[in-house]
């Protein structure tokens, strides 16, 4: 059956609605962009470049020739089976084993569970036993497994000349170096390590201090998050750390803190925060928490805020004082803030005060300690302690800083320097010239993972010791709340590496050097139990229950608290184009640079900018405009773009057509030091802030991270600094291509993400289903006659799931035999016989349906919980063997992620014939800086009437009995019709042999080096096919997990009718990794399943539902929770107002008023109250 869908032509009024735009070009509305939108794939995505026709023919001729030679005869090759000689314990070939471990990350250990296949780790999951994270993971935990198989990791220990040496030789080199200090006080001995929560290491450090009292022990992290703890520790005069309980907070104020993005315990915070945002019904709408954010960079926290104030980071301390002045009487309000900012602070403080004991203030760790102390005072005033936060006692850390160590080195006081991990030559603060300092040491022992900047700065090397990955190490550590967790190896070190604790123990000539034995000893001390049973239980569970840090009960000294304001008098800085500020943020891809050689990390689009493989200088649209003619209207060929002259522009017009983001490279000068990077105009950034993401532009790095991004460390003076003053920016007249996935898949501002306010939802719970074109079309499903009451009623979810014929494709599954005919299953599968009045004359028995038929899989994604963190994207890549394609291919729109997160901006600027109603310069188009952000995770929705299926000429994609849209790779011939017909654009095509060839050799065909690195292959999930060139692929709802669960269930109940997998058993990879539990998956035939209950929610809707494709993945609309008392409080979400004006029921009086539109008489909008119709 062919179906044609006609999108109604938008009316003039609709075209002139407010701007709901997805990119700068979208906002511009230029015709190239329109053409680009109308194309399925960007121009050039389906053509080969770099290879012309002549070359192509040459290569093909050669390959045909080789094929002739290569025929090895018709005999089947003989294959061998190699069983174990002795079966290892618990190891069944073909069955995955799961072991607990934890990832050391910036002084915190993240509890994990690792899936291994015959001792080969393939996938990382969160450890659900650790309640704060509850099985969720961050992208960093997800990508870390690929580092284990990094082809460029150090494969041997090396001596001073760089020659590979054996482990025994390495051990003796350590011994030699240590013996020089035997019997001395350790003067001239220095260590530089990364921060660690490992009690075993802490033991070693204290025995180091005992043995060599004069030795220097310094710790350094590229991204230092320790300021908040230091500030509170100073107040309480003991080492403490703040543990927040965002789930208990109803009102949250974040001062430049990305607490769900990168601050300590981000995964746990995200989970707790989402708990406060999830609502099951309209009655709970008003119970939602409310988030206020004042920040300079558009962070994940800011993207999820209900009220967001753009503010320079240098003014955040003063703003903290302004808010505090309403909460803490002794704090004086600084002068200089605008009326709006003062009003904002006042109302926000009032709202926080109205929720004493249920409110929370957090501040970014880059802010000075005084700010954090003011935050402590505010939280005290809000009675947060013991309710929404706790101060827990941590272990003392007596390390010195890298700056002190560098000073000692420069003074030629260090004879032997031991560098344990990290990469100080790359990420040391700019005030420390680490390379020259390092060269002053007598000799250096380096424990390193790969050849990095620190390695290339070697001159006085004594030994290079290859470090182990955490998945091949024994160790221990503490999670954020202090829970004692193991680091357990999944396999023996691949290249005989050494762990930090072993090296230290050897250096100290300890009797016990084996890391396992050391950890065992520490465990016995901490747990006070020495039996193997307790130890094994700890390893099995991955946490030691009851070992978390205890909350400190000592009250703050009142005089100390009262004294804070006297030490704290921040001023408001007035920034402008010539006096900019710089804000450093860790890379969302590489963190501090450690994941630079990790393809998953690099290729995962940045959550906000959607840039892959690079970083950029992020600036506001206002600054861009002031820098000169920013608003890129490159196709008009007039004026300047970013100050570049016309000639350059003309030369690059062709490149623009490819949908690439071409952007000028600018120089940033801070205190005489200059770095450069491409500009990216990012709405939502404070006017005069330059956001510089760290962690890119590594010079000495492996093959993957080569030439990616720009290094901004040289202008960062200290690990926590935000510079201000004297920051200059200037054009270099060069340009750069950014591989940005943002402009793919424009959705033209329809009711894609449906949004409402908490207030509206509680008054009109049905608002979600009143949006969208389908709310005006005839019902997709007929009414049926109820068996018991005999009355006509709407179908239930379950009946709907069974009502349509599976597939709608040319392929019908062959019929069963007698059994099939006996059951009334067929009755359900017959297309509905619609009577003229839209009723369906058929009786369905729900119980019988769910008893007799296969389970039907479905998914719900809750927009209220999704924070856009990308964890699902990487989890999917890891689970499903999704290849990395590289920057060059992303530029051609060939990225392969099965799951993507679309990020939409919406603004309150009303577009009226191309002019802006509330724009002071109505003749000029501007990019708004005040935006609201909406995230939408999209993967194959497994449509019941899938448009992809009906166009496949070879039936490679058909429906199965469980409602899955299957994809048979071996049938696929690569016509790509299906991708063209997919309304969600979720199908991915293997344009080249991503899995057979290394990046950079994709185009060389059979003449290029074949095969990829063996190490990389070891990560592949054996339960999923590795796809070849020329086939289409897409999300399968993790069918391998579904099948495994079904088979396991049957294996547990052999020969029985118990065939239904219980709800909750199957978790898709994205669902499992989601820190906020935004994704729910399960059987929609089961009325009691979690997913069925969510699908019955009044917030549930299908994206593009009017196409009648009946997707199995549906979404719950997003509810924002604005405070009406706030200045510029929006009556409806921006996206909603736009919808109302363009496709909905028009703007109501409130909305017109908010947008500054003349009431009445405007024929562009119909001021009808939205809601009922």
């Amino acid at each position: 059956m062919k179906r044609k869908f006609y999108h109604p032509e938008p009316t003039k009024a609709e075209l002139n609605g407010p701007a709901y735009w997805k990119s700068l070009d979208d906002l511009q509305g230029n015709h190239q962009f329109q053409e680009w939108v109308n194309r399925e794939f960007p121009d050039g995505a389906d053509t080969m470049s770099d290879v012309d026709r002549r070359n192509f023919m040459k290569i093909m001729a050669a390959s045909f020739g080789l094929a002739g030679v290569g025929v090895t005869g018709c005999r089947m090759p003989e294959r061998k089976i190699l069983p174990y000689t002795k079966q290892p314990e618990f190891l069944i070939p073909g069955v995955a084993n799961y072991y607990s471990t934890s990832m050391p990350f910036g002084g915190e250990n993240i509890p994990l569970v690792v899936e291994t296949h015959q001792a080969r780790p393939t996938k990382i999951e969160g450890n659900p036993s650790y309640k704060p994270n509850g099985g969720g993971t961050s992208t960093f935990s997800q990508v870390s497994i690929l580092d284990l198989y990094d082809p460029d990791r150090a494969r041997s220990h090396r001596d001073s000349s760089g020659k590979a040496i054996s482990r025994a030789d390495a051990e003796s080199l350590i011994k030699d170096a240590a013996s020089e200090f035997e019997g001395s006080t350790g003067e001239g001995l220095a260590f530089l390590a990364t921060s660690s929560s490992s009690p075993t290491r802490a033991h070693l450090v204290s025995s180091l201090a005992a043995k060599f009292p004069k030795a220097i022990w310094a710790e350094h992290e590229g991204i230092d998050l320790s300021n908040p703890s230091k500030a509170v520790s100073a107040l309480l005069q003991r080492p403490v750390r703040t543990v927040h309980h965002f789930d208990k907070a109803k009102r949250i104020l974040s001062l430049d803190s990305d607490f769900v993005g990168y601050e300590g315990n981000a995964t746990g915070n995200a989970r707790a925060y989402a708990k406060g945002r999830k609502i099951n019904s309209a009655k709970e709408a008003t119970k939602m928490s409310r988030l206020y954010v004042a920040e300079s960079n558009l962070s994940l926290a800011g993207a999820n805020a209900d009220h967001r104030l753009r503010m320079a980071s240098t003014n955040i301390p003063a703003f903290a004082a302004l808010v505090a002045s309403h909460l803490v009487p002794s704090v004086k309000a600084p002068s200089g803030f605008s009326e709006l900012e003062q009003q904002w602070a006042k109302e926000c403080a009032a709202d926080l005060l109205g929720h004493k004991g249920r409110a929370l203030v957090v501040a970014g760790s880059h802010l000075a300690q005084e700010v954090h102390q003011v935050v402590v005072a505010m939280n005290e005033a809000l009675e947060a302690r013991g309710k929404t936060l706790e101060y827990v006692a941590t272990d003392e850390n007596k390390s010195t800083s890298i700056a002190d160590l560098a000073a000692a080195l420069e003074g030629n006081k260090v004879k032997t320097l031991v560098i344990l991990g990290g990469n100080p030559a790359y990420d040391a603060p700019a005030s420390v010239n680490w390379e020259s300092a390092q060269a002053k040491a007598g000799k250096v022992i380096r424990l390193g993972y790969s050849e990095d900047e620190t390695y290339s700065a070697r001159s006085n090397w004594h030994a290079f010791i290859a470090q182990t990955h955490f998945l091949e190490s024994w160790g221990d550590g503490r999670a954020w709340d202090g829970t004692y967790v193991p680091v357990q190896p999944m396999l023996a070190p691949l290249f005989g590496g050494m762990t930090e604790i072993e090296l230290l123990a050897r250096f100290l000539s300890k009797s016990v050097t084996d890391p396992h034995d050391q950890v065992r000893k520490t465990f016995e001390e901490i747990s006070k139990k020495s039996d193997s049973r307790t130890f094994n239980k700890w390893l099995a569970e991955g946490i030691l229950p009851g070992s978390a840090h205890t909350a400190v009960t000592t009250a703050f000294n009142k005089t100390v608290l009262d004294a804070i304001p006297s030490r704290f008098s921040p001023k408001v800085n007035f920034l402008n184009k010539d006096n900019l500020e710089v804000r450093f943020v860790p890379s969302a891809h590489n963190w501090d640079g450690r994941f630079a050689n990790n393809g998953w990390a690099q290729e995962c689009p940045h959550p906000i900018t959607k840039i892959t493989w690079d970083n950029a200088i992020l600036i506001s649209a206002k600054l861009a405009e002031e820098l000169g003619g920013i608003i890129p209207d490159p196709w008009s060929m007039s004026g300047q773009v970013f100050g570049q002259d016309l000639n350059q522009l003309v030369r690059r017009t062709n490149e623009f057509n490819r949908g690439r983001e071409i952007t000028p490279i600018y120089q940033v000068t801070v205190d005489g030091v200059t770095v450069e990077g491409p500009l990216h105009v990012q709405p939502g950034i404070a006017d005069y802030t330059l956001v510089l993401p760290l962690g890119h532009g590594r010079k000495t790095v492996g093959r993957v991270g080569k030439d990616s991004g720009f290094n901004f460390y040289p202008v960062r003076k200290s690990a926590t600094s935000t510079s201000v003053g004297g920051v200059k920016i200037s054009d270099t007249n060069r340009s750069y291509k950014l591989a940005n996935t943002q402009e793919h898949w424009s959705q033209e501002g329809r009711a894609i993400i449906r949004e409402g306010t908490a207030d509206e939802y509680s008054k009109n719970p049905e608002f979600t289903s009143q949006m969208g074109m389908e709310s005006h079309s005839p019902k997709l499903y007929p009414k049926i006659k109820d068996k018991e009451t005999g009355k006509w009623r709407e179908m239930t979810q379950q009946e709907k799931a069974m009502f349509v014929p599976r597939g709608n494709s040319a392929y019908t599954p062959p019929k069963y035999t007698e059994i099939e005919k006996k059951s009334d299953r067929f009755k359900l599968l017959i297309p509905g016989r619609y009577s003229p009045d839209g009723l369906f004359d058929q009786d369905l028995d729900n119980d019988e349906v769910s008893q007799t038929y296969h389970q039907q899989w479905g998914m719900v994604i809750d927009f209220n919980a999704c924070i856009g963190c990308n964890s699902c994207v990487v989890a999917c890549q890891s689970e499903n063997n999704i290849p990395i394609v590289g920057k060059d291919q992303v530029l051609r729109g060939r990225e392969m992620h099965w799951m993507r997160i679309d990020r939409y901006f919406s603004s309150d600027v009303y577009r009226n014939d191309g002019k802006f109603a509330n724009d002071p310069k109505p003749d000029k188009r501007v990019i708004p800086d005040e935006v609201q952000v909406s995230f939408q995770s999209v993967a194959c929705a497994q449509c019941e009437l899938a448009p992809c299926e009906s166009v496949c000429p070879v039936n490679a994609t058909v429906h199965d009995e469980q409602g899955l849209n299957t994809m048979a790779y071996n049938r696929c011939i690569g016509t790509r019709y299906c991708a063209n017909n997919c309304p969600y654009k979720v199908r991915r095509f293997n344009f080249l042999d991503w899995n057979k060839r290394d990046m950079g050799h994709f185009y060389e065909g059979p003449l290029g080096p074949a095969g990829v690195n063996e190490l990389e292959q070891m990560q592949k999930n054996p339960d999923v096919s590795v796809r070849m060139r020329g086939v289409m692929e897409k999300c399968t709802y993790c069918v391998q997990r579904i099948q495994e669960a079904k088979i396991n269930h049957k294996a547990k109940h052999p020969g029985s009718a118990d065939v239904k997998v219980p709800d909750g058993t199957i978790k898709t990879a994205c669902q499992q990794s989601c820190p906020t539990e935004a994704i729910t998956f399960g059987d929609i035939l089961d009325t009691e399943s979690e997913v069925s209950k969510l699908k019955d929610s009044d917030r549930n809707y299908a994206v593009l539902g009017y196409l009648n494709i009946r997707p199995r993945t549906t979404y719950l609309s997003k509810i924002r929770n604005p405070n009406p008392a706030m200045p510029k409080a929006y009556p409806k979400p921006f996206a909603r107002m736009e919808y109302d004006a363009r496709y909905g029921h028009g703007l109501d009086a409130n909305e017109m008023d908010y947008l500054g539109l003349p009431k009445g008489g405007d024929d562009h909008v119909h001021p009808v109250g939205s809601g009922n119709h």
């Binding site: 069983p83 174990y84 599954p813 059994i819 058909v958 088979i1047 294996a1051 020969g1055």
Partner: protein, 227 residues
């Protein structure tokens, strides 16, 4: 101008057409017959490094060991594992401990190098066959592997083509048997002495009943085996 072609050339086109037709028929028939697993795989009987005799170990007239004595993970895993050397040696450390035929087994245990068994049944990489799913649902080993308990050297008994799989997936009642008889390769639904026809009838009746009772619904879609 004289005729270049002789008169007989008039028949050439027809002869060529007939020739091509004939050739096409032969090629098509040959490919359909020879290039199928039925021809290429069935009967494959490679020489193994150790002449392990299934008919003695598992056969009725021999030790009559259960399949799961060695292939112990077949009910839990997708693979039916080939036993580790230690399993062989658990008996052969005592029995025939000096037999020269068992030299590779003893060497393997001493050196730790595995015995290199030659693979007989090979599913393609894109097929995810699962043993546990079948043996726990009443499909006996014999359905796919034949009477291994009567083979001295294991050979490929059935075709294992996709059609072979689908035959059974479409009509599971012809293969499903009570769980307790799954590993009894010589079991007959109609009793020992029933005729072939009666056996089939008995199997069909029993199978139909079990399929109904256990709700056996073998997947017929691609994702059942390919993913």
């Amino acid at each position: 101008m004289a005729n270049i072609f002789p008169r007989s050339a008039n028949w050439a086109p027809i002869k060529i057409i007939i020739g091509i037709f004939f050739l096409a028929t032969v090629v098509t028939s040959a490919v359909t017959y020879y290039a199928t697993p039925k021809y290429l795989r069935v009967g494959y009987e490679p020489k193994q490094p150790v002449p392990f005799d299934h008919s003695w170990h598992a056969g009725k007239d021999g030790l009559n060991l259960d399949c799961r004595f060695c292939h112990n993970n077949v009910t839990k895993s997708e693979h039916s594992n080939v036993p580790p050397t230690s399993t062989c040696m658990s008996c052969h450390a005592v029995i025939k401990s000096t037999s020269p035929k068992l030299a590779p087994v003893r060497d393997s245990l001493l050196t730790g190098d595995p015995i290199e068994w030659v693979k007989v049944h090979k599913t393609p990489d894109y097929v995810y066959f699962n043993h546990a799913a079948h043996v726990n649902r009443g499909v006996s080993c014999v359905e796919c592997h034949g009477r291994v308990d009567e083979m001295q050297t294991v050979k490929h008994a059935k075709s294992h083509s996709m059609a072979f799989c689908l035959d059974c997936h479409r009509n599971p009642e012809n293969a499903v048997r009570p769980i307790e008889h799954v590993f009894d390769l010589g079991w007959h639904p109609g009793g020992e002495n029933a005729t072939n026809k009666d056996q089939k009838k008995a199997q069909h009746e029993l199978g139909t009943q079990l399929v109904e009772e256990w709700k056996v619904q073998p997947p017929l879609s691609c994702f059942g085996c390919h993913r």
